[in-house]
Subunit: 210 residues, 2 copies
């Protein structure tokens, strides 16, 4: 089963346990015998895939998440469907945090991504300096570089702790591995969204030949 | 005693309990009989004051804060000197948090200001929407507007709670009043920096006539 997660910057493909990333301007041609099961948050990039590949199926209409959240992105929905209980943290240019309980989505919220914090501080004249992501979070910062890094990391970590309590926290996305190490009850899994997609394809019996 | 806090955008003046703000391009002429005791974080704006007013005294050299923090801004130092124990939160374009214990500065850290969070999310295509600063912080958000507002406020509040414990928290700056209402142990005081300046002028006997 060949899967594709179409984002704003990249296409992420998944095939037989292997993940790879392609840029929107450097999409390689896939064998047309393979149906590309995909989801997309970016209409322009979706068009690029469809123009170059005839055998594609958008599985969005099969995605059924029990939630009252208005406007939840398809990528967040699919990641949520990969677990029954716990918290999902997708850490990219923004960090989305979603809470699942017995297969029901209880809500979620959004923080800036680590890179966004860094760029934000870089725009303030007196704070224009690199981050120190190795800053100690157990003692108070004693210089500006540590002060902005501590502020960024501590605010992300404390809000995730606040909603997760002792539940499992599933980290995914670019900074997922890094953030996961601040939590004892964490699991880093960069295939989360593809686990969700696989489940949707299987449960809805939409798998074509191959 | 006429006091002036020179910032990056504005001049804040203080005289007999009254505070007012002047823009760097609209500085009004003060009576030259009054010495303007000032601190400054912006060399260009300091020059503007000195070019138009002959009777000024920069009190920075009298500011002695017991700290090992490298590069603490003069405005933060002065605000810290206004209290002996507690946490000072100055909430402007950035939010600075400083911890004082028995007159000693234990350290501090920096978060983006509320407006910076808002602008940051406004730059992400799918999150381009106004904040809802009345969002409930006791239940999980159920739409994107609440999700970004909750993320911003919760992360600021939890990090301040984390360092303040049961100590008093002194809020100052543009969003100080708003943020102070999330804490039972809070005091909003927009004259904090001028209290520190008054103390420095008095303790160092540098008050000239008037």
């Amino acid at each position: 089963m060949l899967l594709c997660d179409i984002g704003n910057s990249y296409f992420h493909f998944f095939y037989k346990g292997r993940i790879w990333r392609e840029e929107s301007n450097g999409l390689t041609k896939k064998n047309k015998d393979f149906t590309i099961y995909y989801i997309s948050v970016n209409a322009r990039n979706e068009k690029k895939l469809l123009e170059s590949h005839s055998n594609c199926l958008n599985i969005e209409k099969f995605v059924k998440l029990d939630t009252i959240y208005q406007g939840l992105g398809i990528d967040r929905k699919v990641a949520c469907l990969s677990i029954r209980n716990g918290v999902i943290v997708d850490s990219g240019s923004a960090i989305t945090i979603d809470i699942m309980q017995e297969g029901i989505h209880l809500g979620g919220y959004i923080l800036p991504g680590i890179e966004s914090y860094r760029r934000l501080f870089a725009n303030i004249e007196t704070l224009k300096m690199e981050f120190n992501l190795d800053v100690s979070l157990n003692s108070l910062p004693q210089n500006t570089k540590d002060a902005v890094s501590y502020g960024c990391l501590k605010s992300i970590i404390l809000t995730i702790q606040d909603v997760s309590k002792d539940n499992y926290i599933y980290f995914t996305g670019g900074d997922g591995k890094f953030l996961s190490r601040f939590f004892h009850n964490s699991i880093y899994d960069n295939t989360l969204i593809f686990k969700g997609m696989t489940k949707i394809v299987n449960e809805n019996h939409i798998l074509k030949v191959r």
